[in-house]
């Protein structure tokens, strides 16, 4: 599959990075305003899905190999759990906001939400990778194939 027309490809080239940037903004700003890990992660995944649609599966896999995506998927969840466990070791309770004591409520400081921005980043990685994988795998299964190998060439994405 070679992807879609040159118009779509060009527009995608311009917009994909912007969408990604916007997703990153939503994640990073999530502890202060609307947004957060899940919403931002979905926007990040949309950037990858746009690339997959416009350029085809092969190109998308060059940008983000499947093995990397599924590793990052587990990594995001583990990072979130690790944050909680560190709180347990440091503060005595699961999910203790162990950074909050230092910088709580200080304006213009990165960690003024305690561990919440970090948790948002972990969730964003997890959500982005999961959504991308769900979309990619579902869109690339051959419907009449005997073997269950994933082969994106035979499936047209329109």
């Amino acid at each position: 599959m070679t992807g879609m027309t040159v118009i779509v490809k060009t527009v995608t080239r311009w917009t994909a990075a912007l969408i990604f940037l916007y997703g990153a903004y939503v994640v990073a700003y999530g502890h202060l305003g609307p947004g957060g890990g899940f919403a931002g992660g979905v926007i990040l995944a949309c950037a990858y899905i746009l690339i997959t649609l416009a350029y085809g599966g092969e190109h998308a896999l060059r940008v983000l190999p499947r093995a990397v995506a599924s590793r990052l998927d587990s990594f995001g969840a583990l990072a979130f759990l690790a944050l909680a466990l560190v709180g347990m070791v440091g503060g005595g309770l699961f999910f203790t906001n162990w950074l909050q004591q230092k910088w709580a409520g200080k304006a213009f400081h990165v960690f003024n939400g305690g561990i919440i921005p970090l948790a948002n980043v972990a969730i964003a990685i997890k959500v982005c990778m999961s959504l991308f994988l769900v979309f990619f795998i579902l869109s690339s299964v051959r419907m009449f194939g005997k073997d269950e190998q994933i082969d994106f060439r035979s499936k047209e994405v329109d």
Binding site: S70, S74, L81, G87, M88, G92, N97
Partner: protein, 512 residues
């Protein structure tokens, strides 16, 4: 040594959740490492749950744990995510861990027939995390979330073999389970709309203040229907006889042994006793549902030719016993019901594991095709005999005591009709398990099974472990142990809304 429950309580969820994400990272090559890691995880969960059970006794009452120490009081309502460890939760935790340990031990060789071992263990661990969270959580919405974690991973595990039957069973299970979840979520939303609280203790308090009205009755009905699907009570049981046999044997053991109890029966009795409060009408509803399941499951099990399908119908029937006894609402009834619930977890998972062992060696689940296998597979034959005698209620085994208690409780409460049904169905149970024994393990050995050997050592170990537990569980009625294990669990329910609320609310103020 003084054990600080406060520190280790969340590990019951964190360990399986963490393993659930680490194990898939191991990939295809390191399958043995995945086996070892999964077994270590479940073994540590067994230790943890026993420590929690014992530690709770030392501490006296229940433990309430607020995630991150964060809670906020607004308008008289306390918001926060809490875990509550009382007698019932501790009992359920031990059951979940023991059965999951036996199942992972069994899986290490049984899953040689399948690919994708690390993914299998990942899903398995997620299912355990869901169940542990479900029995520990103290608020309605988290109950729903953990219930869904357990349910979604079980949908995937039922379909794990990716054959036609498995996919079909899994799809049926998924559709019914998903409709049930919608009902549960809608009823939780209704409850929140009316009472403005999600914490079970506070919900119970508000409900006692404002009285039950039409809205909360609607919510109750939807909750009973939704959770009834998860528990496979009779009008809602259609998915179970398909889903449980289709899954790999260790998963069938988990599904029948603990999943339908942790996310079905446990949730129902928690809601009925600790949120709504037991009333005679509600008790009657539970008893009728229970008796229906008991009769329909028992009768349908009689005519099954498929080993695992028979066991699945028998699960419906035994869950009926549990719900019937707990619905009585008397102290003895609740004790008997919980005891039977614990026993059923052990012997039903044992029976599913033996059926898996037979399938592992002979490749069939049809009882007609087997015969005389006890000669070739002595350990499997004997453990299956132990399991069958327990479930049928033959004296030295645990099933006898719990069924006897249930019947006595029915009689003591003056419910003669229900007692009679329980007796009759117990005879029916004996009949179909005699059929299993005769067809599968005794009688003449067929020629085609001449080459059959006993299953590998780890599989034997897990079956023997459960068989020993089948005998040992009878000891739970001995005065010392009864006060330690069963009575706290009973009290957690019997003290009803008020008791639960006192337990949770007195600990609200204390730090942590």
């Amino acid at each position: 040594m003084k054990i600080d429950i406060q520190t280790i309580l969340p590990l019951a969820i964190a360990i399986p959740l963490g393993m659930g994400f680490i194990l898939p990272l191991l990939g295809k090559k390191l399958t043995r490492l995945a086996d070892v890691a999964a077994n270590l995880a479940t073994a540590s969960l067994v230790c943890l749950s026993i420590i929690l059970l014992v530690g709770r006794l030392q501490g006296g009452g229940a433990e309430v744990y607020w995630m991150g120490g964060w809670r906020i009081t607004a308008g008289g309502t306390v918001f926060g995510i809490n875990l509550v460890l009382d007698g019932l939760s501790a009992l359920m935790l031990v059951l979940v861990s023991v059965v999951s340990f036996a199942s992972t031990l069994f899986s290490s060789r049984y899953m040689d027939q399948y690919t994708g071992r690390s993914k299998y263990y990942g899903l398995f661990m997620l299912m355990i995390a869901g169940m542990n969270g479900c029995v520990l959580t103290g608020d309605m919405f988290n109950l729903f979330v953990f219930l869904e974690i357990a349910a979604v991973s079980s949908y995937a595990l039922v379909a794990f073999g990716c054959e036609s039957d498995e996919l079909e069973a899994s799809f049926k299970y998924l559709i019914l389970g998903c409709v049930a979840s919608s009902f549960i979520l809608l009823s939780i939303a209704l409850l929140y709309a009316q009472f403005g609280a999600l914490n079970m203790a506070q919900l119970g308090e508000r409900m006692a203040e404002l009285g039950v009205n039409k809205g909360s009755l609607l919510a109750l009905m939807m909750l009973l229907a939704g959770l009834g699907v998860k528990a496979a009570l009779v009008p809602f049981h259609a998915w179970l006889p398909d889903a449980h046999p289709s899954a790999p044997a260790p998963i069938s053991a988990m599904l029948s042994g603990v999943l339908i109890k942790a996310i079905g029966v446990y949730a129902i009795i928690r809601v009925v006793f600790n949120v709504y409060g037991w009333t005679p009408e509600l008790g009657m509803a539970l008893m009728v549902l229970g008796t229906l399941s008991m009769i329909v499951g028992g009768v349908l099990a009689m005519r099954q030719g498929d080993f695992k399908r028979l066991l699945a119908y028998s699960s419906i029937s035994q869950i009926g016993y549990v719900v019937l006894a707990i619905g009585l609402g008397t102290p003895l009834g609740i004790l008997a019901g919980l005891f039977h619930l614990a026993n059923h977890a052990i012997f039903k998972s044992l029976l599913f594991l033996t059926s898996g062992a037979v399938q592992y060696r002979t490749g069939t689940r049809q009882l007609d095709e087997m015969g005389g296998l006890a000669q070739k597979m002595p350990i499997t034959g004997r453990t299956c005999l132990v399991g069958s005698m327990s479930i049928a209620g033959i004296p030295p085994f645990n099933g006898f005591f719990s069924k006897l208690l249930i019947i006595i409780a029915c009689v003591a409460a003056g419910r003669w009709g229900f007692a009679l049904c329980a007796v009759i169905i117990s005879i029916v149970t004996l009949a179909y398990f005699l059929k299993v024994q005769k067809n599968a393990f005794y009688g003449k050995l067929k020629d085609k099974w001449a080459q059959v050997r006993e299953v590998p050592l780890t599989m034997q170990c897990s079956m023997v472990l459960l068989a020993v537990l089948c005998v040992a569980m009878g000891l739970l009625l001995v005065p010392g142990l009864r006060e330690a294990v069963l009575e706290p669990a009973r009290d957690a329910l019997y003290q009803g809304v008020k008791g639960y609320q006192e337990v949770v609310m007195t600990l609200l103020g204390s730090g942590g």
